[in-house]
């Protein structure tokens, strides 16, 4: 098998998902060690012009699966398209960013190819020609180091923000190849009827660099507006603990944690969140964590970078004011 690498570029509504760009950093590291070529694949409908955004990240070639049946993500047609790309690129290592799409697609593809797969990797390296990864397990209470079998295709999904996006290079070029894809009725059995936004105009927690998160102690849906105001000032997303979601203060799509979303933003601000192990499972990978809690012994402080033992109702508006001043002075 060749040491070629294939990067899946995820696009949604014609916009490339930022985490897809970050995995070029992984590919470049691997390619330096193994000499494998870097291929990229993008699937969708009417997406040909997106290759211009990928070329500066220096893939050797870009495979484009442009087909009306690929307009919305569906596991089976997308798996078909990827199989075609794997064949033409002769890639052994396939890289995805960890997203809801790759969590759905990558294991299905792995089963189809009888591949080795590791999901949500924090770190990738090579050791004696073997691919090694580190990934969180057991509610992020452990990190497992694994080696992947070398006798088959290897599929990795990489945790967003685990690697920084390489600096795009101007004046680079890549071979663009369009992929011939064909689907059986069986592949197309599932139909996407509609996609309805649940974001209410705010960014999703998995896609934000900054998250302002609140717990049960916010006491009501209305009080969360305090956090929304701060989020707006910061260009941040709003998150919530399960207790706040179960109490109906926030929709389930905002829940952070074991049964919510796993996030790794640059900055996570936790207002009145106790820091139960299931909450930490979702956010302990954040770069900087700020905890605001009236109880100095709250477990959230054990993962916090900065702590304020304070009443959130007093501190949150003051902080919003300070953030605003900061924006004004920039």
């Amino acid at each position: 098998m060749s040491a070629n690498i294939l990067i899946f570029i995820e696009q949604r509504s014609g916009r490339i998902v930022p985490a897809s760009r970050q995995i070029f950093a992984v590919a470049q590291e691997l390619s330096l060690k193994t000499g494998g070529k870097i291929h990229a694949v993008i699937a969708g409908e009417g997406i040909g012009n997106l290759t211009d955004e990928i070329t500066p990240l220096q893939p050797d070639s870009i495979h484009v699966a442009d087909h009306p049946e690929l307009r919305f993500y569906r596991a089976q047609p997308y798996a078909q398209a990827l199989c075609a790309a794997i064949k033409t690129s002769e890639a052994q290592t396939i890289l995805f960013a960890t997203t809801s799409l790759s969590r759905d697609l990558a294991p299905r593809l792995a089963a189809r190819l009888k591949a080795a797969i590791a999901t949500d990797c924090l770190e990738v390296s090579t050791e004696n020609g073997e691919l090694r990864i580190r990934r969180p397990m057991y509610c992020a209470k452990c990190v497992g180091t694994f080696s992947l079998a070398t006798d088959r295709v290897q599929i990795l999904t990489i945790r967003p923000n685990a690697y920084p996006t390489p600096v795009p290079q101007a004046g680079t070029s890549a071979t663009i190849q369009s992929l011939d894809v064909a689907f059986s009725d069986h592949d197309l059995a599932l139909k996407v009827v509609d996609v309805v936004s649940t974001s209410e105009g705010v960014r999703d927690v998995t896609e934000a660099d900054i998250i302002v998160s609140g717990g049960r102690s916010l006491q009501s849906k209305e009080n969360f507006s305090m956090l929304y105001e701060m989020a707006e000032t910061l260009g941040a997303a709003v998150g919530a603990s399960r207790a706040a979601v179960d109490a109906g203060f926030q929709p389930p799509s905002r829940q952070v944690g074991l049964t919510g979303k796993i996030v790794s933003p640059r900055l996570y601000l936790a207002f009145g969140i106790d820091g139960a192990i299931q909450h930490l499972a979702g956010m302990r990978g954040s770069k900087v964590i700020v905890a605001i809690n009236t109880k100095a012994e709250a477990p959230i402080f054990s993962v916090a970078t900065y702590g304020c033992v304070a009443d959130l109702f007093t501190l949150a508006p003051l902080l919003t004011e300070e953030f605003r001043n900061l924006n004004g002075s920039n």
Binding site: I117, M137, T145, S147, V193, V195, V196, T259, R266, L326
Partner: protein, 263 residues
């Protein structure tokens, strides 16, 4: 209609974990094992379908693992599944969910029953990988819908309509049955099995299979080899910001800007 649900046994998320000397496994003594919470959503969904519809003939729960006593099967049977299939063998102790899904697919094909709907959790909270469901669907050559937060089965029982959660949106999909669904938080709230039902569960049929009972033992040697389990990288100690609220806010923002450089 016949429904299959999957239920995996996992350590309780509240349990403190101890890594064994050698670093390749967890200390299992005193480790509380439970039914994977996402699988409880799947079982609950199956049971509610049976309660609401007249055409659900049977709910079967299947599990795979190395340990014989299985908390997940017990819970599922007590919640309302009719019978269980347990694929139990030392070779199923690993973390390679592709291998596990292939073995379980072989066990499912062995059954005389064909299932119209397969429900499983979005992910198991031990590996946290979520590979099992989509992989199982592929091995059974069925369509799947992942991360479902709302599920409707058509009146005639031949198709489904589901909402699946993605980043900032829900996708609404339709699909003919048979199909496999992975259940996301928000779909349904699982019931607590009552004590009498836990007792009754012990009398429900449970078929125990070993790897050698499978016609095709699977092509697979594990694709993943665990080299080491380590605690997560420690986080830097917390710097507490002191003072009256106004000063605290100013100081925190200053630190975030000048020291941490994150805003």
């Amino acid at each position: 209609m016949k429904i299959l649900t999957l239920a995996m046994q996992v350590p309780d998320s509240r349990a403190a974990l101890k890594i064994s000397p050698g670093g390749k496994s967890l200390e299992t003594r005193d480790l509380k094992l439970i039914c994977n919470p996402f699988d409880e959503f799947a079982v609950e969904q199956a049971v509610q379908l049976k309660e609401q519809r007249s055409d659900v003939e049977e709910i079967v729960v299947a599990t795979i693992g190395a340990e014989k006593p299985n908390q997940a099967i017990r819970t599922a049977l007590a919640m309302g599944a009719d019978r269980g299939i347990q694929l139990c063998d030392d070779i199923f102790s690993g973390q390679d969910e592709i291998l596990l899904a292939e073995a379980l697919a072989a066990a499912i094909r062995l059954q005389e029953t064909t299932f119209d709907l397969i429900l499983c959790g979005k992910q198991a909270i031990d590996t946290d990988s979520g590979e099992f469901g989509p992989a199982l669907a592929e091995f059974l050559d069925l369509p799947h819908v992942g991360a479902v937060v709302k599920l409707d089965i058509s009146e005639d029982g031949t198709s489904l309509r589901a909402h699946r959660r993605i980043e900032g949106a829900e996708e609404i999909v339709e699909c003919p049955l048979p199909a496999l669904i992975t259940c996301e938080k928000g779909l349904i709230e699982p019931r607590y099995p009552s004590l009498p039902n836990l007792m009754k569960a012990k009398k429900k049929p449970l078929q125990i299979l070993a790897a050698s009972d499978l016609p095709e033992p699977g092509c697979l040697t594990p694709g993943l080899q665990l080299l080491e389990l380590t605690p997560p990288a420690p986080r830097p100690p917390c710097t507490f910001i002191e003072g009256p609220p106004e000063k605290m806010a100013r100081e925190l923002v200053k630190r975030l800007r000048d020291e941490a450089k994150v805003i």
